[in-house]
Amino acid sequence: MKKKIGLLTAALLLTGVLSAGALTTAKAEAILGDLDASRNFSNTDFSAVMTMVTEDPEKGIDKIKVQQFRRDGKDTFLMLFLEPESKKGQGYLRINDNLWFYDPESRKFNHTSMKDSFGGTDAKHSDFRISTLKEDYNVKTVADGKLGRFSVYIMDLKAKNSEVTYPRLKLWITREGHLLLKAEDYSATDRLMRTSLFPKYAKVKNRYIATIMIFVDELVKGRKTQISIANISTKKLPDTIFTKSYVERVNR
């Protein structure tokens, strides 16, 4: 009996070692690079319509629709609110490393932070700009695993410096195609703050874009946001779109 237990323990340990060593750190970092590349549109522009549904135990269900324009080559974006009527015309414009919020009622631009939540949802502004996982994080551990029916790499990432928003991330990336299916964001005190799920992807010009994203707030029970993306286009956008005057003009 003792022999059997010993064999079983050895087998489990061996499996663990193998799974942990399934991917070298260099390969894992290359996958992070792939992930950044697949989520960024360095050579093309990107536009889409996003529908965000936020469930909040206190405020109930809130739905907003946003027109998104991105030019990742210049780390620029514009998000214009289409719905609800009360927010129509408001917009977030990121230009020259600054994020501006425009309110058509006051006709003023106010400076805001990338770390703030987007329009009261569980998404952050930083979720809509270029992805810099490889630049910001070191791979601490990698393990093989399963997420539903998908074989995945489970990567534990540690921020390279104290200025990265989340000090620790845990990612579930498909072995094939290297698509991000799930992410967990941890605080500096190593508490799980947010879980992000990416259950649906669409193929646009040889790349996969997450068309459904779910952000679950792990601190406030029952608060989550689902984002659906439609009308995706990678056609070149006019330069004038990424200007304050466009945001003002589009509201007239």
Partner: protein, 445 residues
């Protein structure tokens, strides 16, 4: 002279209705000006008290440090420099408070959450803060737990927490990382009016500093409670001079002074970080005072005082025109009487003095009535208790409007009133005094 005073007094009672109407007009003017002055004086003191409690002192020192990435963060890095700069002004200081502050934080209990400004304080040093807070649930003894947090009632009600409950606080470190801390509600305090307009919680500076990513023993702000509040500008200047000898001061660079007013008013409220255009080494200090923070409020109070003074002068002018007309009528009514008393030996100056005394008595009686009514109004207005969640929180002290009746202010109002009365009555009084006895006796009305 006594006879003249007696006659003047008797004359007032001869036309009771007219005297009451005139006196009422004077009383109304005095009532308005004393009430408004009492309100603005109270407002000024309330705001001073509120801001002193909220900011934790009269003189505030904060520092900015540039990270290797160029990002500016709020923290005092060179504590030795600051300690050395404080020694020449040590005699002026009653208490020194070091504080940390979570700029943007959210407090969470189950499925409920709300935003909250949290100050990290050293409970052993913050005796005045403890005096200001009234504990409704829990106790200050619970604050020996480093993870204890003090919440205002408004926040506790919103979250439906009680003393002893565990809550989470989501905040950013000084370098901008997201962080979460576990706290236990140590005490729930009444929104002391003092700062019910801003929901502030208090936590142990060591634990909050740890969550904010400060080094052990680190802090972001040093607030000085002075022995004499009127010395704050002098003390601040001395401290600036001392710091300038060994460290950078915000006013020393033009880009700082350009935005100085904004930074002074907003610097304490927000915990945001920006990127330095021209990075510097060490801590760049800034020294501000309660007067700097309150500058916009004091300006508002000055405007309010000007408005009330203008209103008083308008009301007084209208009343004085009424007084002038009344005494012209009095002159006509009493022409024969004046002729008679002049005929039996009264001097011209005595006739003039009767008019003056009569008008002065009338104004004094009106002023006394106005003063009494104003004091009653202040007592009633000051007794009204406003809701803890009132939007007027900034104007309230312990949920009440504070009125301060200043004796020199009231005396000044009365002196102005009496002088204007004498000016208004001067012409009819002079005419009365100059009446020829024979003409006055011949007059038939």
């Amino acid at each position: 002279m006594m006879n003249i005073i007696k006659i003047a007094f008797r004359n007032i009672t001869r036309q009771k209705k007219r005297s009451i109407l005139l006196g009422s007009a004077v009383a109304f003017g005095v009532l308005i000006i004393i009430l408004l002055n009492g309100f603005t004086a109270g407002l000024k003191e309330t705001m001073k008290e509120n801001f002193t409690s909220l900011m934790g002192g009269h003189v505030y020192v904060n520092g900015k440090v540039v990270l290797p990435s160029g990002k500016i963060v709020n923290m005092i890095g060179d504590r030795d420099i600051l300690d050395k700069a404080l020694s020449p002004i040590a005699d002026e200081i009653a208490e020194v408070h070091i504080r940390a502050q979570s700029g943007r934080s959210e407090i969470i209990f189950g499925s409920k959450s709300t935003s909250l400004l949290i100050y990290g304080v050293n409970w052993n040093d913050e005796k005045l803060l403890k005096k200001t807070l009234t504990v409704l649930d829990g106790s200050f003894k619970a604050l020996s737990d480093p993870k204890a947090i003090v919440l205002p009632k408004k926040i506790a009600d919103k979250l439906q927490v009680r003393a002893g409950d565990s809550v989470l606080v989501r905040l950013d470190t000084v370098t901008g990382q997201r962080n979460v801390g576990d706290f236990t509600v140590g005490a729930i305090t009444s929104d002391p009016g003092s700062f019910s307009f801003i929901s502030a919680g208090y936590a142990n500076i060591t634990y909050l500093g740890e969550l904010l990513g400060l080094k052990p023993g680190g802090y972001q702000y040093m607030n000085l409670y002075l022995k004499d509040i009127n010395r704050m500008d002098v003390v601040a200047k001395k401290l600036r001079d001392e710091l300038r000898k060994t460290a950078l001061l915000e006013e020393d660079t033009p880009e700082d002074t350009n935005n100085e007013t904004h930074q002074r008013s907003m610097g304490f409220m927000m915990g945001g970080s920006t990127t330095a255009v021209k990075p510097w080494k060490g801590t760049k200090f800034s020294v501000t005072t309660l007067n700097d923070v309150m500058a916009p409020v004091l300006q508002m109070i000055r405007i309010l005082n000007m408005v009330s003074l203008t209103l008083f002068i308008i009301l007084l002018t209208i009343t004085m025109v009424g007084l002038l007309n009344t005494f012209r009528m009095v002159l006509i009514e009493r022409t024969r009487e004046i002729g008679t008393i002049r005929a039996i030996g009264m001097q011209r100056k005595d006739v003039r003095n009767i008019f003056f005394f009569e008008a002065l008595f009338l104004s004094l009686a009106g002023a006394a009535a106005g003063l009494v009514l104003a004091l009653i109004g202040m007592a009633v207005g000051g007794a009204v208790t406003f809701s803890a969640n009132s939007n007027m929180g900034i104007f309230l002290l312990n949920r009440h409007i504070q009125f301060i009746a200043s004796v020199p202010g009231i005396l000044l109002i009365i002196v102005i009133l009496l002088l204007m009365t004498l000016v208004a009555v001067y012409l009819p009084a002079r005419r009365a005094a100059r009446l020829k006895v024979a003409d006055a006796l011949r007059t038939q009305y």
